[in-house]
């Protein structure tokens, strides 16, 4: 679990982040922010979904309280990933190293890190996270620089039309990435499919019903997601410990508790990469509960 191995695993994530970060910066510039603002946000936050919503809220002049609440609700998933990762770290992991690793917790970094058969080392995580962070920051900087350059290059009526088309096309990339995160796991799991349909329906309700549409931006995300998640979590309790839905991520973390460890995952995982690799493939491919990892499909090259 060397630094170089982390860099290699982080490369596909970085390539995936770059265009998304690019369009984030372009969108921020379109919302009237100076070029340095998206770069600053990308450098300090490193979270696609949250930055996207937060920056729109700041542009809309939302209150700091609403900004805080929205960021919290969008990013609360990181807490779960963070807990999950904490169980998979190698024993020698002092607080300052954990504090650094915490900054790099993203959906894709988590997905790639958690599917590793071994315990995670600091150099590996540093390589993985710094590589994807470079893609994120580089994409943002490029987008921030290009947006004003594009505006200067494409002048005149035709130029303006092309500029609008390019920006319009890039605008969809963040949404497309989110689709790519939620669809693969929902495909094999009816509960997730129901949750996604319910959430999308509730969101449409808030978008199209005039009374609900007047609510401040961000509040709809909080209300819809909390309500829909509560309903589904109540109807189909899914504890990752449950044997039929055991996620590879959670089972791996059971290494700390030998009494509870799952033999199908615990055994090979201890014996090393050669034995554990086929097991990892099986878990990702066939078990519906393991779908979370599918979000970073291109990051899975072993």
């Amino acid at each position: 679990m060397k630094f170089a191995r982390g860099l290699r695993d982080g490369l596909p994530i970085a390539l995936g982040y770059a265009p998304v970060a690019f369009s984030y910066a372009v969108q921020a510039a379109g919302n009237g922010f100076p070029f340095w603002f998206p770069i600053l946000v990308s450098a300090t936050n490193f979270t696609g979904t949250g930055q996207f919503a937060g920056t729109n809220l700041i542009a809309a002049g939302a209150s700091l309280l609403l900004l805080l609440a929205t960021m919290l609700i969008i990013n609360i998933r990181y807490s779960l990933m963070s807990v999950s990762l904490s169980q998979k770290l190698e024993p020698d992991f002092p607080l300052w190293k954990r504090a650094i690793v915490a900054f790099g917790v993203t959906d894709e970094n988590y997905a790639v890190a958690i599917r590793q058969p071994q315990k995670l080392t600091f150099p590996y995580l540093l390589g993985l996270m710094s590589c994807s962070f470079c893609g994120w920051l580089g994409g943002t900087a490029l987008g921030a620089g290009m947006s004003s350059l594009l505006a200067k290059l494409l002048v005149g009526e035709t130029g303006e039309a092309y500029y609008t088309m390019i920006m319009s096309a890039l605008n969809i990339s963040l949404y497309a990435m989110f689709v790519a995160i939620i669809v693969p796991p929902a495909r094999g799991d009816k509960r997730l499919l129901l949750l996604v349909a319910l959430s999308a329906g509730a969101s449409c309700l808030f978008y199209f019903v005039p009374v609900l549409a007047t609510l401040p931006t961000g509040l709809d995300i909080i209300l819809c997601s909390l309500a829909c998640t509560a309903v589904i979590a109540f109807m189909f309790p899914h504890a990752p410990d449950d044997p039929p839905d055991g996620e590879s991520s959670e089972n791996s973390s059971a290494d700390n508790e030998p009494a509870e460890s799952d033999p199908t995952n615990g055994g090979p995982a201890e014996s090393g990469p050669a034995g554990a690799s086929p097991d990892g493939e099986r878990t990702d491919g066939k078990e519906p509960g393991g779908g979370r990892e599918d979000g970073a499909g291109e990051g899975g090259g072993q």
């Binding site: 369009s23 937060g54 990339s173 939620i182």
Partner: protein, 106 residues
């Protein structure tokens, strides 16, 4: 929107984001055992993303039809597990093509 609004907003975003990322790694030593809390945390990201995507994705482009075309391509490719990068690029390309065609025809 003043500079201080932006900096303050960025500070809030950073504080909340880092706090949510760090809380587990720094504080949680034991595993969460409550089944409903586990379930809730497991399902939440999918719901948040679905709420953010729909219906906004349809209106994220210059006009509805290009947004719809981009959405359909994204849904189709991600159904076949194409990965984030191919899905995002194909969706961008689709929107651009549809808008380009409309621009030339209209």
């Amino acid at each position: 929107m003043t500079i201080s609004d932006m900096l303050l907003g960025c500070l809030v975003m950073f504080a909340v984001t880092y706090a949510t990322k760090a809380v587990g790694l720094l504080l949680v030593k034991k595993r969460i055992t409550n089944k409903y809390v586990q379930s809730f945390l497991y399902y939440l990201p999918y719901s948040v993303l679905a709420v953010m995507v729909f219906p906004d994705i349809f209106f994220s482009t210059s006009f509805f039809w290009s947004g719809l075309a981009g959405t359909l391509v994204a849904l189709l490719l991600s159904y076949f597990r194409c990965g984030l990068l191919p899905v995002a690029l194909a969706s961008i390309a689709t929107v651009y093509l549809v808008e380009q065609i409309c621009f030339l025809v209209c």
